[in-house]
Symmetry: none
Subunit: 283 residues, 2 copies
Amino acid sequence: MNILEKITQNQAAFSKSEKKVAEVILANPQTAIHSSIATLAKMSDVSEPTVNRFCRRLDTKGFPDFKLHLAQSLANGTPYVNRHVDENDSPDEYTNKIFESTMASLEVARQSVNVHVVNRVVDLLTQAQKISFFGLGASASVAHDALNKFFRFNVPVVYFEDILMQRMSCMNCSAGDVVVLISHTGRTKSLVEIAQIARMNDATVVGITSAESPLAQECSYVLSLEVPEDTDMYMPMASRIAQLTLIDVLATGFTLRRGNKFRENLKRVKDTLRGSRYEKRGD
Amino acid sequence: MNILEKITQNQAAFSKSEKKVAEVILANPQTAIHSSIATLAKMSDVSEPTVNRFCRRLDTKGFPDFKLHLAQSLANGTPYVNRHVDENDSPDEYTNKIFESTMASLEVARQSVNVHVVNRVVDLLTQAQKISFFGLGASASVAHDALNKFFRFNVPVVYFEDILMQRMSCMNCSAGDVVVLISHTGRTKSLVEIAQIARMNDATVVGITSAESPLAQECSYVLSLEVPEDTDMYMPMASRIAQLTLIDVLATGFTLRRGNKFRENLKRVKDTLRGSRYEKRGD
DNA sequence: ACACCAAATGTAGTAAAATTACAACTTGAA
DNA sequence: TTCAAGTTGTAATTTTACTACATTTGGTGT
């Protein structure tokens, strides 16, 4: 298990001084592996034994062993960790932190995706008479994006931002229709209601939401994404990126299921854009 | 450079005792990284300084440093690579490929971002009288998302999907207004025209687009993102994720610039959602 | 075959690093 | 206030790595 992630996750369980150590290490793990316990203690402004205890808390045998684990984590593909933005961060720092924590979240999301459900949902979508994408707030733009992908497939696709339109649209559903509802928390009342309306009218309801949420309970299928969100920012960030990527997965599954001829069709759709663009040499 | 390979290659240049050490390490590198210099010396049937010299010959600072290098070599996990989806991929395969190549693209994007421009644009945005976000096609949902972020900041924000509305809106611009235009290719004619209109009316035009594109040339500031796109899919995927992340960066920069009191305000905005949601225990 | 030199290796002492044991603080509840 | 549990630091100890120097090895020229 990646020890950098472990540090981030356990952060709550650390004591005051241990948090200082965690901070220093996360801020610059490359420096950490080349420091002695004394240097690191000084940098963190704690005593040497505290650093040692910190290492043990992370199930390592001691400081040198900890450094080995850390070195491996750094070499191990992703050094990306969900580091929270700090008030005093420079533009360089917050830019990198956001990119990195987005990548880290995607990694978490990837692991939480249930591939069997993905496959089943792709099945449903390819056979759907009509596909609807609904979301509110930040998830509205995700639904918007889904519309942009799926309309290319020459299937009737519906997307509304307005909750009344969403409700009415769901009232008109019938068997064979698929309604995809997007919500990070899965607690938005009107979306839960929409799920109920759609199901009453025999539509299949797919939720891209948090497992065990009220919304999840009303869905026929749930594509759950467990993504840590930096609540300090009071804005949905990582969650919607994960949702969008999942939409990509569904769209890709769709095209693969439809086979090669269908891809030709997508190419034609894309090619019609040419007239609206300035030529690129060799395009 | 992988130190295990280095050992194998240099083997000829080693002395007799050094060869013994190399052998023992290559035979069981996992054991080696958890041994002390004394243990390793005994296992190789040489003296401790010989082991130390062996380490230095491989351009490391000493035995502990050597162990770090070795640990990293062993943890040689594949970093995320842009692997293209293949026709015959299973759901498991294409799901993972998409997540991984999205992460790889974000890494590329991160490196291509010019932090100075980010900082300058954040400056402009915090001082703007009015901010507009425009995009077409897939970039429309990115602009939509930007709207969702920036309206929370209590600044006049404008977003239209309709190109006529976009044009008219830009005609009404004046000095102090910022227009953010989003386009992966930067070749969409109507967006380039909008850039021109906005500039004619003294607005500052920020492009989130490809460097050196026709759109980039019309912008006051360009936040260029060089993201590889899997053209086989005929759909924009990675590019818009990178754009969204950049929007997150700008929004974050904005809130940081505005300081702590402003964050309180964001919290209040978020808290108003509570009434629209089902309660979560302990929330 | 012997002496000699350079390279290689080992020994023993030294310095540095990590760990332990214990003492001195905090903190929160009775 | 006092006590106990938990946290942190100080100082001594142990382990580990490194250095300086001594010894050995193996090769070369006489």
